[in-house]
Amino acid sequence: MERKRSSRHRQRYRKRKTTCDKIKDFIREFIAFMFSNVGIIGLVVGYTICGAFMFQAIEGTEASDDREEAIKDIHSARSKTRDRLWEITQKFNVLEEEAWREQAASEVLKFQMEVIDAINKGYDGVDDVKDLSETSQWSFSGAFLYSLTVITTIGYGNVAPKTEWGKVATIFYAIIGMPLFLLYLSNIGDILAKSFKWSYAKCCLCRGCGGNRDSRSVSPENSVAVQVPEIIDETDEQYEESHIESTLGDSVKDDTITVPVTLCLAIMVGYVCGGAILFSKWEDWDFLDGSYFCFISLSTIGFGDIVPGDQIYASKGLDMSFIFCSMYLMLGMAIIAMCFNLMQEEVIHKFRSCVKAVKNCCSCSGARDDDVDTAPIE
């Protein structure tokens, strides 16, 4: 009797789960997915797109105003110089080269100064005011690349906010965006590192086939006990598989199989060279410029002197350039995070032994007491 009552109670309790709870659960699952390993890509891209719209709205109008002004300045400078030169020419009844030249030279110099001033204001060779909107720096793709450079801390600077609101918005956008991007890097880097290790073990070492089967027979307690207290969605099946593999890998494979440092370096160099070839083909650079650009971007130094799609008299094809550049950067930084992850253990181990040797040399005699006392702990 009691059992029936309790089961009826349980049924009633289950029905009582309101829609409110369901919504909460759904939101929780959604947030967990977004911050999980795959969803964070979407989060970063979404954040960048929002940033692009925001900056386009803030900076788009101001920038074109400034550039219009610069173009007007250039036009007036040109006409003024021309008129002055005409006056000079007219003054001379007999045209002597030397005298004429002296006077004309100062005019031309003045003209040059005004051109430089206009360049500082934002003039970049586009002459007609009508062409401005097509070649605006703050097009959607330009703003997208700008937002990406802010959160990755590359910071090219070829496109930079000029308004006050733009600067304030940049600061806050960066404060939130940089940790988000670091989270993206660490998550994706981890996944890539694990899958790369797994495929490396499978492909390169024939013994890995037998080894995998053995390690899978290890009790599942290990994988449960070794918790990964990151923000992960544990219902993500794809992750669970790799999680189990990785924990087993952590306990068994990591001791025996580490990806060699040279392979990681080769991957990074290969990615830089691949990007260099692509960009030099599209942008008409030479190979050195392309690899220089790729390296400077991926190391987040980001000078901004060479940026795809940033030439004078830019053509209409710059939209694709920027988008491709952004994708290249995001993927590239994830790959670099993966390589660092893979190289980490070996490098730290080697570095530690190095520094230990140095320290032993430096504090030889005196440290023997310390070593004896602290030896059991180490």
Binding site: R82, A160, S299, S363
Partner: protein, 511 residues
């Protein structure tokens, strides 16, 4: 009781033939502190000196490579100007009768061509509008110095960028070696500063608390033995014994929570360690937290043989310690159980990846025990006194210290940014917002390069004024980055804690 136990421990050590400094325990402790301090300082200073040398070397190299090209550009522009004039003269000569319209049209086109050349030079070749006769260059020594610093800190302004192929290749190689070097130096200095600041902060807090609770001290004698026991010398001090080395492989995540409770075999423990563990277990039992398990541990601890310190004791001590941790759940979480709202047994988790390289060598994941005697009023005194006395004992072991609060660190950082903002705004005639924007963009290593100090001075009549600004900018940069590294190292654990807490509250991670 404590003094006898400490004497016993000294004797025990002597019995086992360990080296005993002749002048007594105090001076050896001091010697060791000093030696360790200088060891750390030397390795840090050495690294810092290497970085400074590297930057200076880079400045020299880049100046040599790029200054010529810059002067070449100025020469080019002069040539364009002369060509333009020649063309204009030829136009004037050619037309026998000067009609205004024809002439002006031709002149206009010529000017347009000249302007295109100037724009191309400014955009692509880094021409800055100066003349050949001007003495100052963009690629002066201080300019190249700022350039080198921006390369290895990955800020990368870009207002000054290499234009020669040799310069570009050299930049790549320079960055490949310089960026890790800089990161290493920053993490080192950051840890050193963080330890110093935490030490000073806990000292300040301790002295303030000590003054406040001086009257209460006399009433609670049972506390004293706990304090003294923590301060015993040589390696017998419980804090040293309970030091647990960090895990071999550093990952970004905090260490996994301790494994589940397993039954123990009673092992041999040192007198003081067992004493402390017994008291801790008593406290745990008194709190009725998983009383069965804690009573079991208490039983195990009480009924072991009294023998001298052995190598195995470390394992057992750490195991007991871990058990007691599990009894309290995750020790970093359930702080509310202890009277002082501090965790009973506190372990500092290893630092995360970027700064692990040196931290793994310098820091030990050490655990110190705070044993509040039954009676809550005593506990705050024990904790404070134990902290202050233990912190004065061993400079290197990370005893439990009052953590520097996150808000204080944030305040210090924003203060530094505001300071830089006011200074640069005053010098460069920027608005305050521009100054703050510049400081933020620089210190976050984004580094646009649209606003760089020294530019306005370079345009002014005073040629040497710009150089000082650049050097000051370099110094501000480096100090700011060290401060940021310090801030990371100080607040890291807390932030990770809070984030995992928030994640659990939201329900993202279900443990």
């Amino acid at each position: 009781m404590a003094s006898s136990s400490s004497q016993r421990s000294c004797q025990q050590q002597q019995r086992h033939g360990k080296k005993q400094p002749s002048t007594g325990c105090t001076s050896s402790r001091v010697c060791r502190c000093v030696r360790v301090f200088f060891g750390h300082l030397f390795s840090n200073l050495g690294l810092f000196a290497i970085v400074v040398g590297y930057v200076l070397l880079g400045a020299l190299m880049f100046e040599n490579l790029e200054a010529e090209f810059e002067l070449q550009q100025r020469g080019n522009i002069k040539r364009y100007r002369d060509d333009c004039l020649k063309e204009l003269w030829q136009i004037t000569e050619r037309l026998n009768v000067l009609y205004e319209q024809n002439w002006t049209q031709l002149v206009h086109e010529q000017l347009r061509r000249f302007e295109t050349n100037v724009v191309a030079a400014a955009k692509l070749e880094g021409y800055d509008g100066k003349d050949l006769l001007d003495s100052e260059r963009q690629w002066s020594f201080s300019g190249a110095l700022l350039y080198s610093v921006t390369v290895i800190t990955t800020i990368g302004y870009g207002n000054l960028a290499p234009k020669t192929p040799a310069g570009k290749i050299l930049t790549i190689i320079y960055a490949v070696f310089g960026v890790p070097l800089m990161l290493l130096c920053l993490s080192n200095l950051g840890h050193l500063l963080a330890n110093t600041i935490q030490f000073a902060y806990s000292h300040v807090c301790c002295s303030r608390q000590r003054g406040r609770s001086a009257s209460r001290r006399r009433r609670h004698t049972p506390c004293r033995h706990v304090v003294n026991a923590q301060c015993t010398e040589e390696g017998i001090s419980p804090t040293a014994i309970l030091t647990i080395p960090p895990p071999e492989q550093f990952k970004k995540r905090p260490p996994p929570p301790p494994p589940r409770l397993t039954p123990l075999k009673p092992k041999l423990l040192a007198q003081d360690v067992r004493q402390l563990l017994v008291e801790c277990a008593e406290y745990t039992a008194a709190q009725a937290v998983e009383s069965a398990a804690s009573h079991q541990v208490l039983h195990d601890l009480r009924h072991t043989d009294h023998t001298a310190l052995d190598d195995e004791d470390l394992d057992s001590a750490s195991r007991y310690h871990r058990q007691l941790n599990t009894l309290f759940g995750s020790s970093l979480e359930r702080n509310a159980n202890t009277p002082t709202k501090q965790p009973l047994i506190q372990c500092s988790p290893p630092a995360s990846v970027p700064s692990t390289t040196m931290s793994s060598l310098q820091q030990r994941q050490s655990c110190s025990m705070e044993l509040p005697a039954p009676g809550s009023a005593c506990s705050s005194d024990t904790s404070e006194r134990s902290r202050s006395s233990s912190s004065s004992c061993e400079a290197e072991s990370n005893n439990k210290r009052r953590r520097v609060p996150v808000t204080l660190v944030l305040v210090i950082l924003s203060g530094y940014i505001c300071l830089g903002a006011t200074v640069f705004a005053a010098w460069e005639d920027w608005s305050l917002l521009d100054g703050a924007y510049f400081c933020f963009i620089t210190l976050s290593t984004i580094g646009f390069g649209d606003l760089v100090p020294g530019k306005s001075f370079q345009r002014a009549a005073n040629p040497d004024g710009g150089q000082i600004q650049l050097v000051v900018c370099c110094a501000y940069l480096l100090v700011g980055l060290v401060l940021i590294a310090t801030a990371f190292s100080l607040v890291q654990e807390e932030v990770v804690l809070k984030c995992t807490k928030a994640a659990r509250w939201i329900g993202i991670s279900t443990k």
